[in-house]
């Protein structure tokens, strides 16, 4: 079983965002593996241990992204690939094409990724990748079984759960609840240093001119800060009464 996991290195979710010249400033930020991608890694490792095969983690990113790949290797992935090329600054369309090229060359049975990344939150790359590779996908998965040539998944559809069956190869995006990701063990961390990590450029993938970004960021900015409100005073019954009157006076539509 050839299993791929597409990951992204993102800001730690406890980071505050600083804007510098209309862009989010990365300086001094702590980076982690996108939390949704951790579910994808954990699921891949469990499936490999059950069915045999190997797990390759892949990302597109700058040098620092190697840390995320090493963490995934320390969790137990077998190999890693880092696509990196200064000429490749693009949107989800470009990212999906690069990943598709790298994965297609090596072959695949199952591809996993996070439901979305907690930084850009666009939720496009994995699903575009499925289309680029012309394979089905199941999005937002909270339970997964793979047997022979078939995947059976539980998909979270806004609170409802759909039981979905698909042929392999298939791409799965992981939703919270899929599993409990493991922490890298100390021996795992030691072993990860010696596991293979391949660096790929656009040229290596035979891509360059054909890759054109389709969208551009005009600017990034912080939302207006919210003013702290009113702490109610008096005895509890008074506070509750005041609150209910204030809210009913706002013309909120209940039910």
């Amino acid at each position: 079983m050839k299993i791929w996991v597409c990951i992204k290195q993102t800001f730690d979710t406890e980071e505050k965002i600083v804007i510098e010249n209309g862009k989010v400033d990365e300086k001094d930020a702590e980076f982690i593996i996108n939390p949704y991608d951790e579910y994808a890694i954990e699921e891949a490792l469990q499936l490999r241990d059950e069915l045999g095969g190997e797990v390759t983690v892949i990302t597109v990113g700058p040098d620092r992204a190697e840390n995320a790949l090493r963490t995934a290797l320390a969790m137990g992935a077998d190999k890693a690939a880092l696509i990196q090329d200064p000429s490749l600054v693009g949107d989800e369309c470009v990212l999906a094409r690069m990943l598709a090229e790298a994965i297609r060359r090596e072959g695949f049975d199952l591809i996993l990724g996070g439901n979305f990344a907690v930084d850009s939150g666009s939720g496009q790359v994995a699903i575009r990748l499925a289309e680029e590779l012309d394979i089905p996908h199941i999005g937002s998965v909270t339970g997964l079984n793979v047997n022979g040539r078939q995947a059976i998944a539980k998909r979270d559809a806004e609170g409802d759960t759909e039981a979905v069956e698909s042929t392999l190869p298939v791409l799965i995006t992981a939703q919270q609840g899929l599993n409990e990701p493991r922490y890298p063990s100390l021996p795992g961390i030691m072993r990860a240093k010696r596991k293979p990590l391949e660096r790929l450029s656009a040229q290596d993938l035979g891509l360059s001119d054909s890759l054109k970004t389709k969208t551009l960021i005009i600017e990034e900015y912080l939302p207006p800060e919210k003013e702290a409100g009113k702490i109610l005073e008096g005895d509890l019954d008074q506070q509750v009464q005041e609150l209910v009157e204030a809210l009913c006076g706002k013309g909120l539509s209940f039910n």
Binding site: G121, G139, E162, A163, G177, T215, I218, S253, F254, N255
Partner: protein, 323 residues
């Protein structure tokens, strides 16, 4: 520049979803005098045709096919591609829903189009379509534009103020061919007990570690029921096993923007605030007066949620009965 804008509508339990009206409102803006074309999937639809006409659609494609009753990416993608081929729109808009977020990237990839997802606003500037969207779960925002003539956006529910623009739409039945559907839905289990979906709820009553147990969510559910709202939770409450991860609100979890958000026993970690601080009115109930949640609350009550919430439920019941 006037545009033809195609809107994929969405229904739930036989009614158009709110985000569909928001999509139509945005479409009228993006059209800049051009035409808004709506697509309805399903059969029984005279009311829906009237409704989409009220919000600006002058042409409505009605698509009926057995494979479209239940969403699958393969079937929806094929239907959408055929309609897009027929209408040849300058812009495409749909909701960033369980369906929209799942199928739009596939359609965009197939057509080689840029896609701006999860927009809280869509506007035009100097002939360009611009999507405004939260990043880092709303800790910051970005404005994006398209390179190339065609634009494709998905819209987050509860952000665009509806505007009517009455039209009498021409109805066009449209046949689609669907084949080779590779993933099949065998069963659907409806989980949201009250039927109110978190991402579209007007009112959310949310619990954190302070709720202390699964049982502790009961008074929150009672308050939500009185207000016609949904119950949510912080990561702390989910990690502690008090409730299902499907209820989690925050940077990991759902981002919500209800009219009223009542945070009970939630301290207000940055990652939780990212998921709810854009709610119109925030009420915080917490024992700790120093809890960061009070910094984003419009109204705060310092006290034990198990005393405050039941009193609040009773007071709302009385107030709503008097109305």
């Amino acid at each position: 520049m006037s545009r033809t804008v195609l809107v994929f509508t969405e229904q739930k339990d036989g009614r158009l979803r709110h985000v569909t009206y928001e999509s139509l409102t945005a479409a009228c803006r993006v059209a800049e005098g051009g035409e808004v074309v709506a697509v309805l999937f399903g059969s029984r639809q005279s009311e829906q045709v009237e409704e989409v006409g009220k919000y600006g659609a002058s042409r409505v494609y009605v698509v009926s096919h057995d494979d479209l009753h239940q969403y699958t990416p393969d079937a929806y993608k094929q239907a959408m591609l055929q309609i897009i081929g027929e209408v040849d729109p300058d812009a495409i808009i749909m909701g960033h829903t369980a369906i929209g977020k799942d199928v739009a990237p596939r359609v965009a990839a197939r057509l080689g189009l840029g896609l701006i997802t999860d927009c809280t606003d869509v506007c035009t500037d100097s002939g360009e379509v611009i999507g405004v969207r939260p990043i880092y779960a709303g800790k910051a925002f970005q404005k994006k534009k398209f390179i190339g003539k065609k634009s494709f956006v998905t819209i987050r529910a509860n952000n665009i103020e509806l505007q009517e623009n009455a039209q009498t739409p021409a109805v066009i039945p449209f046949d689609v061919t669907i084949k080779d559907v590779r993933s099949v839905v065998r069963k659907v289990i409806r989980r949201s007990a009250s039927g109110v979906d978190l991402s579209e709820a007007n009112v959310i009553v949310s619990g954190g570690r302070g709720v202390k147990s699964a049982e502790g969510f009961r008074p929150l559910q009672e308050l939500a029921d009185v207000l016609g709202g949904a119950v949510g939770a912080s990561r702390g409450a989910c990690d502690a096993g008090y409730c299902d991860y499907a209820l989690q609100i925050g940077q990991t979890g759902k981002v919500v923007t209800p009219e009223l958000y009542i945070a009970c026993g939630i301290s207000g970690a940055i990652q939780h605030l990212a998921g709810m601080s854009r709610s119109k009115i925030v009420v915080a109930i917490n024992k700790d007066p120093e809890a960061p949640i009070f910094q984003v609350a419009d109204y705060g009550i310092v006290g034990d949620l198990f005393q405050v919430v039941p009193k609040l439920t009773e007071a709302f019941k009385r107030a709503l009965e008097e109305k």
